[in-house]
Symmetry: C2
Subunit: 231 residues, 2 copies
DNA sequence: CGCGGCTTTGATGTTCATCAAGTAAAGTGG
DNA sequence: CCACTTTACTTGATGAACATCAAAGCCGCG
């Protein structure tokens, strides 16, 4: 269960500029009344598929996954989201219920902003409205790009893409701890757990990466990039 | 080359309610000044990847495809769009240039609405802004859903999905003329041209469909649906 | 008429999922 | 703390699904 914090205040928020830079102080004060911040441990469920959407979710710190459980019982991960990824916008405007579940894959701090309050701000502040449209549009472009390139890549290409994603987009380092289990990776890039393992081992044997459990370090990034684009 | 028509007027437009129902008459009159309607034949290019985005595109009638040409020279179709699909919103807010090309796959009438003019309306009319957000969100949900289900389906499932899409979403009939060549279908659902043909023939032999060139008629829709969900 | 593009079918090989089996790691209860 | 269960990880063998290659028929077009 998450620990709830309410004492933060949007006006001083370090992340204000990333989402709400088009709001003035009085609007931010208004927002404060409709906002709750929650701290989650790695591996906690934030929302379940089908839950009513009451809040717009914003990731302050950490990492979460959006996923659906298929008929076969396998999880399919739509997207991994980090701070500044506006995943909260996804179905917020088109649905009353979540079309997917959300769980943390690292310790995370999430901000819950009441939807009607946010909509009121959008309605009353056109510049803010345009800004939200911008950000939503960007988020969607990213997800679509990833998804489409996944479909047309072979398994090695997908693994390469994944390794580069965490290196370039999430951790900004060539060594990191994979926050996802092999099985979760399989669900994210649509392949079997066995093949995730097999290809990671292959990459290790070929000297592309070093690997110890979930510790990964990319040794030959150029070649990994080549595999990613070639696949 | 498209034939350009300017004499239409938004206030009387039959499609007004589908996009611009949150605008009043004076706002619609304003829009009229920044709008051009163009008529295209089947197979014409509307925009090329990389073109500057000057207008929001709205499909009044017809059918278009959004596609990217891959490094291998193969076209990958992101989406097929029909009237009321708000494809025009896709990168409009996040990019200055198109990330994909658009071509008509049937005779079509498109409405070009100047982007700065549209943004001004959004900025000044919060209710309209929220409405646009709704529609954009819905459009995105649809595309994402299709894309994700494509990835996790086998070839037979994908073909079944495609046949049902045109039957249920586009033509609302069990007999129709496929507007896409086999090669285009391949690019849309990420498989080879040969296998598109092979599986269509297979479906014919199994009595699921009748087929003469691009004329398709679905004979056993229940079974096609089963294949689509099972795949 | 002949060329090029689209379609179709068959043969072949590669890629990948599935099955099976074994090891390691991580809870769980007495 | 140790047996016990469960879950994650790993490797190999097999077969199914799919792409690729090759060849031939069809049709529109210059």
């Amino acid at each position: 269960m998450p620990e709830v914090i309410q004492k933060t205040n949007c006006t001083n928020c370090l992340f204000k500029s990333l989402v709400f830079n088009k709001l003035n102080d009085s609007e931010l004060d208004f927002l404060d009344q409709f906002k709750i911040e929650k701290i989650y441990q790695k591996g906690e469920i934030v929302v379940n598929e089908g839950d009513t959407i009451n809040d717009f979710l914003y990731i302050k710190t950490g990492l979460v996954k959006l996923f659906k459980t298929g008929l076969d019982g396998k999880d399919h991960i739509l997207s991994v989201a980090k701070p500044q990824d506006f995943i909260g916008f996804l179905s917020m405007f088109s649905n009353t219920n979540y079309q997917y579940s959300i769980a943390t894959i690292e310790n995370s701090t999430l901000c819950f902003i009441n939807v009607p309050a946010l909509k009121k701000l959008i309605e009353n502040n056109g510049v803010f409205a345009l800004d939200i449209l911008d950000k939503m549009s960007l988020a969607v472009d990213g997800i679509l790009d990833t998804r489409i390139s996944l479909c047309s890549r072979n398994l090695r290409g997908r693994i390469a893409l994944l390794l580069l994603y965490f290196s370039d987009e999430v951790y900004h380092k060539d060594e990191y701890i994979l926050p996802l289990a092999r099985k979760e990776i399989a669900g994210l890039i649509e392949m079997t757990t066995e093949n995730v393992i097999r290809i990671l081992s292959e990459f290790r044997h070929d000297g592309l990466i070093e690997m110890d459990g979930s510790e990964i370090s990319l040794l030959n990034k150029k070649l990994i990039e080549a595999i990613s684009t070639a696949g």
